[in-house]
Structures are given as C-alpha cells and as structure tokens.
C-alpha cells in the first residue's frame, strides 16, 4: 500500500481499524516486558540507588518528545511541498501527544533532579531547550485552535513547525556545546554507547514500548481528527441547507 493510496481518508480509516488492535497488544506486551526488565532485572546504580530507574521513563519520553516534532516536520513538508491530504491530519494529531511526552520528560527529570542534583530545576542548556520545545508545542496547538479553517490552519502550522525544527539539533547537541549540569550523551554518540548492557537493554526495550505507544495514540488521534472533520463538514452542510 503506497503512501499515495493512503491519501484517501476512508481507506486510511479502514487500514487503521485493522492495524490498531494489533498495535495495542504489541504496546501492552512491550510495556510488560520493559517494566519487568526495568523494575526487576536492571540493577540499582551504585550512587543513585533505585532512583536511577526514573531514567526508564524519562529518557524514552525525551526521545519521543523530539520524535513528535520530527514527525510533525516531515508531515509539514508533506503538507507544503507534496500537498498530501493526510499530512496535516498527521501533524495536528502528533502535537498534543508530543507535548504530553515532553511534559512527562520535564516532570520526571525534575523529580529525578531533586534527590540527585539537589534542585528541581536549573537553567542549563538541555533543560532550557526542552522547555522551549514544550512552549513551542503549546504554541502550535494554540495556532491550530485559533485559525478556524482547517486547511489554512494546516499551512500556518506547517510553517511554524518547520521554523521550530531548528530547536531539535540544539536540544540534541546542547549537552556537548555548553557546560551543562545535565549529563552528556551516552546512548547515541560517536564511539558507541557508554551505558552498561544491564541498564541499556531495559532502556531500549522501554524505548520500543514508548514508541509503540506513540504510534498507537497517533493513529487513534488521526482517526479522531478525520471524524471531527467529517462532523464539521456535516454541520456546515446542514447549516447551509437550513438557510438557502
């Protein structure tokens, strides 16, 4: 099934309905395995004790917050360049989900920082740029809500998304470019990961579980958005028929 064939909303809805139950099951299984690994198999850190296990929620949420914006940027290109009909639906659906994961990342990171760094918040480069990402998510959601016509809102949101995409490399490399309190990159870096496998494996399983959760939520949200647009069109048609 090519991307162009998926452009038909009805066909997309049919495909999503078939795929979603499997995705839900896969997400549940991945979370079961990941949580078991994280809570019972992964060892305590020699310095931090059990609080290191916040990492198994904090790091995947951070990755997904950035993935959400990257997905929105690709969808924005789909809207502006290729005029794919479902690209703006994908973009609109991803925004609240990405914002939620970014918020989870900020909150869990703050709770983790209190016992380990001694403070709930510090204005270092990584935390500040993730906070800016969260503010930009809220800005895009505000833009979607303020412009009434969905297709015009889609184009405006697409441009704002692409402008905001410049923040993603800043977040990724902020711990390298600035002297920050947040620890430097230890998974995706040149020279391979620096995390010991007993913690790295549960982390990657949880990352897969979170990604499956994102995909499940995103597909459901896209279906909801398509239904919402159908309702809006029906309302407009009824209003137009009532006043000839």
């Amino acid at each position: 099934m090519r991307l162009s064939e998926l452009a038909n909303p009805s066909r997309f809805n049919a495909l999503a309905e078939r795929v979603l139950p499997w995705l839900v099951v896969a997400t549940a299984l991945a979370f079961a395995l990941g949580l078991y690994q994280a809570l019972f198999v992964a060892p305590d850190d020699y310095q931090q004790g059990a609080t290191v296990k916040i990492m198994f929620i904090h790091v995947p949420s951070a990755w997904l917050g950035m993935l959400g914006w990257a997905l929105m940027s690709i969808a924005a290109l789909g809207t502006l360049v290729w005029r794919h009909p479902l690209a703006d639906v994908a973009m609109k659906a991803a925004a609240p989900i990405g914002a939620a994961f970014t918020l989870i990342c900020l909150v869990t990171g703050s709770l983790w920082g209190r016992p380990t760094w001694g403070t709930y918040w510090v204005w270092d480069a990584r935390l500040t740029s993730v906070l800016i990402l969260f503010l930009m998510y809220l800005g895009v959601i505000a833009l979607w809500r303020t412009v009434e016509d969905p297709s015009r809102a889609a184009r405006a949101a697409a441009i704002l998304t692409l402008v905001g995409a410049v923040n993603l490399p800043i977040i990724k490399f902020s711990v390298d470019w600035w002297n920050t309190l947040h620890q430097p990159a230890s998974v995706l870096r040149l020279g391979g990961s620096t995390i010991y496998p007993t913690i790295l494996v549960p982390l990657l399983i949880m990352a897969v579980a979170f990604t499956l959760l994102f995909v499940t939520l995103h597909l459901s949200a896209m279906r909801n958005e398509l239904l919402r647009r159908r309702v809006r069109t029906l309302r407009l048609m009824r209003a137009a028929a009532a006043n000839p």
């Binding site: 930009m136 303020t146 697409a158 441009i159 905001g164």
Partner: protein, 222 residues
Amino acid sequence: MAALAALLRRDMRLTVRVGGGALMGVLFFLIVVVMVPFALGPDLALLARTGPAILWLGALLASLLALDRLFAADHEDGSLDLILMGRAPLELAVAAKALAHWLTTGLPLVIAAPLLGLFLNLAPAAIGAVALTLLVGTPALTCIGLIGAALAVALRRGGLLVPVLVLPLTIPVLIFGVAASNAAVTGPLPFGTPFTVLVALTLASVVLGPFAAAAALRHGLD
C-alpha cells in the same frame, strides 16, 4: 527595485503619521523600565546588576507589541493582496517592510536605551554595551516577529497568539544579548564571544525570517 524603495518609503511614512508610530513604542519601553524599580525596590546596586536584562526585556516587549502594525492594516485595506500580486518577489517586499518596521520601531528603542539606562544606575560601559547589543539584536527581534505576524495576519481574534508564537523563538537573542551586555561589565567572559553569536543570530534571522513570513503570507491568504 523602485517598487521596494516605494514600499519602504510608504511604510515609514504610514508608521510615522498614523497611530502614534515610533514614539508609542518608546513610550511603552519607558513605562516598562520605570515600573521595574517599583517592583524590585530602589536598591541601586540590584538595579545596576539586573539593568541590562530589564532593558532587553523592555525592548523585546515593545517590539512585540508593535508587530501587529506590520501586516494587519495592509490586510484590512487590501494592499497586502496588491503586494502579493506585485512584480517584486514577496520575500524582498516582506524584507522591505521589515526594514521599515525596524527603522521606525527598533531604532528608536536603541536610541532611547542609554537614557533609560540612567534610570537603572547602569555604568557607562554597561550602557554602551546594552545600546550596541540592542542595535544588533533588534533586527533579529523584528525578523523573528515577522514570522508570527505573518502567521496570524488573517486572524480577527488573534489576541495573544503572536506573542506566544514569537517569544520562544526570540529566547536565544535575549540570552546572548544580555550575556554580551553583562560580559562588558563583569565576568571573565569577553564581550566578543556572546556578541559574535548575537550577530550570527541576527544574520540568520534576517535571511530566514522574510522567507518564512513570505511562505506564511502566501499560504495563509487565499
């Protein structure tokens, strides 16, 4: 080219003649800077230490408020459609409007800043540094604000949307502007390091802002 010059002259004349223009922005800047000592208290040492930040925040908010003058009036009376249909490339036309906006809004803020620095007990080195960083940074504020103003041009009830969209994007300019001003007064960091980054941010936004704003206008008005 003649069309762009005409657009520039028209925008500058309109700003000066209609709606208070340049002086309204300076007045808002003055009011904000005057209100901060009421909030912080009259401790002169504290005001001197936070002075560059107060001046930068005041300039940022003043340029933010002046943004709706960029496109809204032209959109209402139809001249924005004429500009879109004109022969000059839309990006250059938008850049000309941005230049007019900066000359009539940003530059008066830069000129007013040294006087307001006296209210905040800033040292002469700090006043000079703030004025210089504002001179370099206000074009960046204008060009980043251009994007928000273009995105919200067709909205009747835009409200606080433009500040919500624009302020996160202006955070780097604010950070490096204040860092450069503080570096000129205290601190081991030389003035040149954050100042160079500020110049880079301005140059990047002067190029990217008109492109993004033109794209937003094209897609938003049809």
